[in-house]
């Protein structure tokens, strides 16, 4: 097990380096230079000084190495457009909102998605099952910009007086209800579908039949034998779901006017703020990579059968 964990951790380092490299190469291809925009034309000498200050005059591999060193020391460099701010400042300002939004949406998905899947599986092929799965299928298919807009329209405008929910912003808990539902419904549907599938599979297992034959109460069979074993494969879905939530947050932050990192990212791309775009991309990638690492290790701990196959 230790060997598996060490090897798995070891493998993430070259992958992170490669992801930084890929982002770095991509960013260098973008046409234009933040200091050579016409509306902010500056004398040649100042331009050269600026490029020197930000290291843009060095060969590409030096820039890459300097950048990797920066990432390793949690310094993502200065913003190229907002002169007196660093990428770290921007991340500090916007990222907590996004983490809160994503975290609450994830929680929403777990709290409502898992019971939905469990109930559907226990009442297999009943109207409850069909209803839950119809809900899950629609929940996955409806794009979150429609869901978000409908939620605003219904609960903040048409019945705004009854519910008192605002249309946009991120100040109080009232601001957070609608965005969290808009972002969390898709992952909730995915959770429900996965849990239902694994539950149905577990219910067929011999040990469940044995437990039932022993005369255990059905509730105990479900809670101890079925649920625990069914939730293990669900852990593996957590990594991809995180990516799903990150993607969704770009749209949801835009709709609800939330000052998060996704909304800022789009403006930074348009303003050609290389360092912000790179910093945020690398940060998101590292978070996902580390989340995958944790999921894999957790899976190895929860399900000993996978350890040997993977070491």
């Amino acid at each position: 097990m230790t060997a598996f964990i060490i090897r798995r951790i070891f493998w993430t380092i070259p992958v992170i380096l490669l992801v930084i490299f890929m982002t770095f190469v991509l960013m260098r291809q973008i046409a234009g230079n933040p200091f050579r925009q016409t509306e902010r034309a500056v004398p040649e000498a100042i331009q050269r000084n600026l490029e020197e200050k930000y290291g843009l005059d060095k060969p590409w591999y030096m820039q890459y190495l300097l950048y990797v060193r920066g990432v390793a020391t949690f310094d993502l460099g200065p913003s190229l457009v907002l002169r007196n701010r660093t990428v770290n400042d921007i991340v500090k300002d916007h990222f907590p909102n996004s983490i809160q939004l994503g975290g609450l949406a994830f929680l929403f998905a777990v709290v409502f998605g898992i019971p939905l899947g469990v109930i559907a599986a226990l009442r297999h092929n009943s109207s409850v099952d069909y209803g839950a799965m119809a809900f899950a299928n629609v929940g996955f298919a409806v794009p979150n910009f429609l869901l978000g807009t409908l939620l605003i329209y219904l609960f903040a405008i048409r019945w705004g007086d009854t519910f008192g929910l605002p249309t946009s912003g991120w100040a109080t808990w009232k601001h957070k209800v609608l965005p969290v539902i808009a972002l969390g419904t898709g992952p909730m549907a995915i959770f429900a579908r996965i849990v239902r599938g694994t539950m149905l599979e577990t219910l067929q297992q011999d040990y469940v039949r044995t437990a039932k034959a022993k005369g255990l109460r059905w509730r105990r069979v479900v809670l101890v034998h079925v649920l625990r074993n069914s939730l293990i494969p669900v852990v593996t879905a957590a990594g991809p779901l995180l990516g799903f939530i990150v993607t969704g947050s770009f749209v949801v932050e835009l709709i609800f006017g939330i000052p998060g990192i996704g909304r800022y990212y789009v403006t930074a791309v348009q303003a050609r703020d290389y360092s912000v775009v790179m910093g945020v991309t690398v940060l998101l990638a590292i978070i996902i990579i580390v989340a995958n690492l944790v999921v894999d290790i957790l899976y190895g701990i929860l399900d000993p059968r996978t350890r040997e196959a993977r070491t």
Binding site: A141, F145, L150, D296
Partner: protein, 317 residues
């Protein structure tokens, strides 16, 4: 005993007559799959709706160009601006209403659908192509190379594609069909590669692969003749597994203003138009969103049906 038997001789040699070769078995596999698929009512309904949606998108704008009977049916130009009629609710003249420029949404949703669906299938095929190449190399080579390639995928698994799609579009600076396909496939092929690799590894254990090797078939023949054709089943399933994500991805990009440029439309860019007017005319965002939802829903059901039909071993009992 022949010292160096040619492949033809070997194929004909073992007990069974030659007619029991690959083609016959394959046709019965597909016929079985068809029978199983037709039994799944949800999947059949989804396929029907999917077909109708394709028919609507690709036939409606075409009808008014064909002279004759169709011209009278719906002679509406999706680019025709008509300000006095802007924001009109659905009516007989405009079954889906009009948008903020007074353009007919019935014709425009079809036009947007063409672009969305074309990008969707284009990017899906690109994803599968990369996935097949990567997965086949990894699964076929095995050993250290396979190990390294898979660890790489393990770590990248679940990486959000949107930032990379945005950067790609920023680099190219032009938004059209091809750049959208590249942007949407550049960081989305990891799952496809895993599926293909898994399939290749399973297939490699089969006796017929060992037999082919034993009679001296070269690696490219084993791969091209025995392994890759047998991944076709999972690839067909994968088309409909990947399609929803790609369609939604295109919609997201267009919705945040980085997608298809006006006056052309995709369902995502139409939803973005509707977003600005959702209080006054909610149908402008609802119509294209429902089109997206229908397509995604159908693709999911078709994928489920195909999985049951083509890969019965994984079927829930």
């Amino acid at each position: 005993m022949a010292v160096n038997p040619s492949q033809e001789a070997v194929r004909g040699a073992p007990g069974e007559p030659r007619s029991a070769g690959a083609p016959v078995r394959q046709s019965s596999l597909w016929r079985d799959a068809w029978r199983r698929y037709v039994k799944n009512r949800g999947a059949v309904a989804a396929a029907l709706v999917f077909f109708l949606l394709l028919l609507y998108c690709f036939a409606v704008p075409g009808f008014w160009k064909i002279p004759g009977i169709w011209t009278s049916l719906r002679d509406v130009d999706p680019y025709q601006i008509d300000f006095p009629n802007a924001y009109a609710s659905p009516s007989l003249a405009h079954p889906f209403g009009t948008d903020n420029f007074g353009r007919d949404l019935f014709a425009r949703t079809a036009l947007g659908g063409q672009i969305s669906i074309a990008i969707g299938f284009g990017a899906t095929l690109a994803i599968l192509l990369i996935g097949v190449v990567y997965g086949a190399i990894s699964g076929f080579a095995g050993g250290k190379l396979d190990n390294g390639m898979m660890r790489f995928l393990d770590a990248l698994y679940g990486l959000p594609y949107l930032p990379f799609a945005i950067i790609t579009l920023a680099i190219v600076g032009v938004v059209n069909f091809w750049t959208m396909v590249v942007a949407l496939s550049i960081a989305s092929w990891f799952t496809a590669a895993r599926i293909v690799r898994g399939q290749i590894i399973t297939l490699k254990q089969n006796d017929y692969v060992r037999a082919a090797r034993a009679v001296g078939a070269r690696w490219y023949r084993v791969l091209g003749r025995h392994l890759l054709p047998n991944t076709l089943g999972v690839l067909i399933i994968a088309i409909f597994l990947e399609l929803p994500g790609v369609i939604l991805g295109e919609a997201f990009l267009s919705f945040i203003g980085l997608g298809i440029n006006p006056p052309d439309a995709s369902w995502g860019s139409m939803a973005q138009d509707g977003r600005d007017a959702y209080r006054r005319a909610p149908h402008i965002i609802i119509v294209p969103s429902i089109a997206i939802a229908t397509l995604v829903l159908c693709a999911n059901f078709i994928a489920d049906g195909l999985r049951d039909a083509l890969d019965p071993r994984t079927r829930e009992s």
